[in-house]
């Protein structure tokens, strides 16, 4: 791989000029799929969009930052950026992540061990701007040059040689949205640096200081959630309607009606799903209801404002928004007097609730929270359901959601379940904590603006497509054999849905996707019809 002589210094040069012009031929090849060509991997923005929005990193506009109209406006924004960096480095404003941020800024020895760990860098054909250390090194050099005493002395010799101007800031803002925060690089770093955290911290300073964030995460994400109850826009009244429909649907599928517990005070478990499940994959919360009902679990859903939406996009860009949503979940749980909160099949919601919230909760707010996977394992392996694995005779592979597996250490329960109910289960390689992100992490699954989906499909999700094709290599030539990618995470499913469509994996290779609980219900002997119906998928 030939690298430009001074790739870091380029970030501040050339204003509107894209740093790379990525062609399909540049990308990592895929097995059984031929999509290489001289065509751009990211379709150019329209002329009007190019005039109005920043896109000088790689041509994509994930954040859709309006271009400043005047030089003065540019200078003001640069000043605010620098002010934000200063705040990132103070314990008053950033106690939440200061320690790890300093560790990452100080500890990197530029060994680039992390580069080979990054699916985006590899899938892009090793483009320098996607190297995990790229944005971190730029931030490090800006901090050293502009915020440390004597930072400009012997700047070239000391490597403090990145200029701060609007071009740098705009490209950094976009660059913060070219990392899925899967933190595979952090796990591979021998020095404890965390380049995924740098993307997080940059997003945070842009949001919390400058009010700049991806629309889908802020305006139609956390703000909408705090306004109407869910990032999907589902209101409490609409939620109740959906549950009624879900009860009908369950009756039709399994031949008996289940009364879904809603707002049941004193239940053992408050189950919170990602509300996207209710809109796009209703069979998933329905499967939970069937399993919990059959296993005799004491549980409830909440129809209160904020109580039926597990997503917490603040996790990816804004600590304050994260805290607000997290505390709303706690309020609901305390009101219902449940023993614990359980998060359904959603990786980021699980991590946000169980792990990240842990250190903002005190006193009565510190109510126990856990993933659904351990309980599902106890139900399946504990013999509480009558299961016939031969109902799942199709090949199944497992996608490991980064948030649950690498970032929470929930590695085995889902595997033990699949080994018990899916005879043709096979692992992707690599898997477990060493898995690759689906490419929809850190909010990308819901980010659909302008030409960003091109980048998301062609670059971010490319490694996952490769893994899926390799996992099914024995049957991939026969599309009549249905193949199931089990993804126990809503955002991963959203990304897989888009990847399967983009690469025509269902039509050409018979590859489908879905959650874990659907496979469990499909194996239940007392359901009339197959719960996993490939013709309807």
């Amino acid at each position: 791989m030939k690298v430009k002589a001074k790739p870091l210094q380029e970030v501040s040069k050339g204003g509107d000029r894209q740093l790379i012009d990525l062609k399909r031929d540049d990308l990592m090849p895929l097995p059984h799929i031929s999509d290489g060509s001289e065509d751009p991997a990211i379709r150019p923005l329209t002329e009007k969009q190019q005039d109005n929005y920043e896109h000088a990193l790689d041509g994509a506009a994930a954040v859709q930052i309006p271009k400043p109209k005047t030089r003065e406006e540019e200078e003001r924004l640069v000043e605010r950026f620098l002010e934000g960096v200063k705040k990132l480095l103070t314990k008053e404003n950033n106690w939440t992540f200061l320690q790890q941020l300093l560790l990452t800024l100080d500890n990197c020895v530029r060994c680039q061990t992390c580069s080979e760990a990054c699916p985006i860098y590899l899938a892009s054909g090793k483009q320098e701007i996607y190297r995990p250390t790229y944005r971190a090194e730029i931030l490090r050099r800006l901090v050293n040059r502009y915020l440390k005493k004597g930072g400009k002395a012997f700047a070239t010799l000391r490597g403090n040689d990145v200029e701060l101007n609007w071009a740098t800031v705009a490209r950094l803002a976009e660059s913060a949205y070219r990392c899925t925060m899967c933190r595979r690089c952090a796990m591979h770093c021998p020095m404890g640096s965390d380049n995924g955290l740098i993307a997080h911290e940059l997003r945070k300073l842009f949001s919390e200081e400058m009010g700049i964030a991806a629309k889908e995460l802020h305006e139609t994400g956390t703000m909408q959630q705090l306004r109407v109850g869910a990032s999907t826009g589902i209101s409490p009244a609409a939620f109740k309607d959906i549950l009624e429909f879900m009860e009908d649907d369950i009756e039709e599928k399994i031949g008996r009606r289940i009364k879904i517990p809603i707002d049941k005070k004193g239940a053992d478990i408050l189950l919170i799903h990602n509300s996207g499940e209710y809109l796009s994959w209703l069979e998933n919360p329905a499967a939970f209801a069937i399993i919990f009902d059959a296993a005799g679990v004491s549980w409830t859903l909440s129809s209160e404002l904020y109580g039926y939406e597990g997503t917490n996009y603040g996790l990816w860009y804004d600590d304050v928004q994260f805290g607000r949503i997290s505390l709303k979940h706690i309020e609901i749980a305390n009101k219902l007097k449940v023993r614990k909160i359980m998060i359904g099949e959603c990786g980021h919601s699980t991590k946000a609730s169980v792990i990240i919230s842990d250190r903002i909760l005190t006193g009565d707010a510190n109510i126990p929270r856990e993933s659904c996977l351990p309980l599902l394992e106890a139900i399946v392996l504990g013999g509480k359901l009558k299961l016939d694995p031969d109902r799942n005779t199709f090949p199944v592979t497992l996608h490991d959601p980064c948030n649950m597996v690498r970032l929470m250490g929930i590695i085995e329960p889902q595997r033990r379940i699949l080994r018990a109910i899916a005879p043709k289960f096979r692992e992707m390689e690599p898997h477990g904590p060493d898995n690759y992100c689906c490419g929809g992490g850190s909010g990308f699954a819901v980010m659909q603006g302008m030409n960003f989906p091109d980048w998301k499909m062609n670059v971010a999700g490319r490694m996952k497509v490769k893994q899926i094709m390799e996992a099914f290599s024995d049957t991939v030539g026969d599309p009549s054999i249905p193949k199931y990618v089990c993804a126990p995470c809503s955002n991963c499913k959203g990304q897989l849905r888009d990847l399967l469509n983009h690469y025509h994996l269902t039509e050409q290779f018979g590859i489908y996707y879905g959650g874990l609980v659907e496979l469990i219900v499909n194996a239940m002997v007392d359901t009339k019809k197959p719960y996993v119906n490939f013709e309807e998928m």
């Binding site: 314990k91 500890n107 021998p190 009010g211 909760l361």
Partner: protein, 294 residues
């Protein structure tokens, strides 16, 4: 000139101690952070009611840390070609540190005429390993694009000085002291026991040069990766995997942090309030206020 060497050497020791302590205190006082670990193996979260299960023990974390530091395990797993040189270098440096400790302690308490020449073999082996590793790293840093791409030029100078320091040490022992353990120990004895002030004020050029190099590294030490590793492992050992239980010490620390004032400027954050106040207040939403459940 000799006096200057003396002042620089003892001054550098003093500087190293004072600056290191200052930096260690600063690192130790960094605030608790949100949980942000990652896991190479199964965690307690795989269990139903995980909060009732025992958390990871301190000694398990300490054991992992010791293995990482001693064997550079992550480099071995992920970047083998770099690890070879790093490992040689680190083993050499560890042995040299032990050798110097032995030299100074034994120099003070042992009769120089009874010292075994095996000690010199130890020193030379350690120097050779460190030099081989260091030179390998330097060459790899220069020739491998992956390693040179973001490496600031000043760090090459650091490696060159380090190699010169090793060569200087070897020269002093092998050439100046004639590779004679007795001569070396006699010299060290006069130094550590302050028994010959004239000799101390007017050191021979070979040892003066080595002492000056040592002074350079002592000044650099508080800013080196050793100090940064302390940042990494201190908080890892203290806080990682430590659960926040009601009424516990962790909860008290969190309570203090939630009281920190927030000064971020974006419109959805109420600047000036405490973190807890901001997190429990909805952002301004204009006409679009939350619709309660109806």
């Amino acid at each position: 000139m000799g006096g200057m060497v003396l002042v620089l050497f003892y001054g550098s020791i003093l500087f190293c101690i004072i600056t290191s302590v200052g930096r260690l205190i600063k690192i130790a006082r960094l605030p608790l952070h949100l949980k942000w670990e990652f896991y190479r193996d199964s965690s307690v979260y795989e269990q139903v009611d995980w909060w009732t299960k025992p958390p990871v023990r301190f000694w398990r974390k300490a054991g992992a840390m010791i293995l990482d530091v001693l064997f550079l395990r992550e480099y071995f797993r992920r970047n083998r070609s770099f690890w070879i040189y790093l490992y040689l270098f680190h083993v050499g440096i560890y042995l040299l540190i032990l050798w110097h400790a032995w030299l100074f302690i034994a120099g003070a308490v042992v009769d120089p005429d009874t010292v075994s020449a095996v000690g010199l073999v130890w020193g030379h082996t350690a120097t050779a390993l460190a030099f081989l590793g260091g030179a390998g790293i330097l060459i790899k840093r220069i020739t491998d694009t992956e390693l040179s791409i973001y490496y600031p030029p000043v760090h090459y100078i650091k490696w060159v000085i380090l190699l010169l320091t090793l060569l200087g040490g070897f020269y002093a022992v092998y050439i100046y002291f004639g590779d004679n353990a007795v001569n070396l120990f006699r010299y060290v004895q006069t130094q550590v026991t302050f028994s010959d002030l004239r000799h101390k004020l007017h050191p021979p050029p070979a040892t003066a040069a080595h002492v000056l190099f040592a002074a350079f590294w002592l000044v650099y030490l508080p800013y080196s990766h050793i100090m940064r590793l302390f940042l990494r492992y201190y908080h890892y050992l203290r806080d990682d995997e430590v659960p926040n239980v009601r009424g516990g010490a962790m909860e008290k620390r969190i309570g203090r942090l939630l009281g920190q004032p927030v000064a971020w400027s974006a419109s959805h954050i109420q600047t000036g309030k405490s973190w807890a106040e901001v997190a429990t207040t909805l952002p301004p939403m204009g006409k679009n206020k939350p619709k309660e459940c109806g």
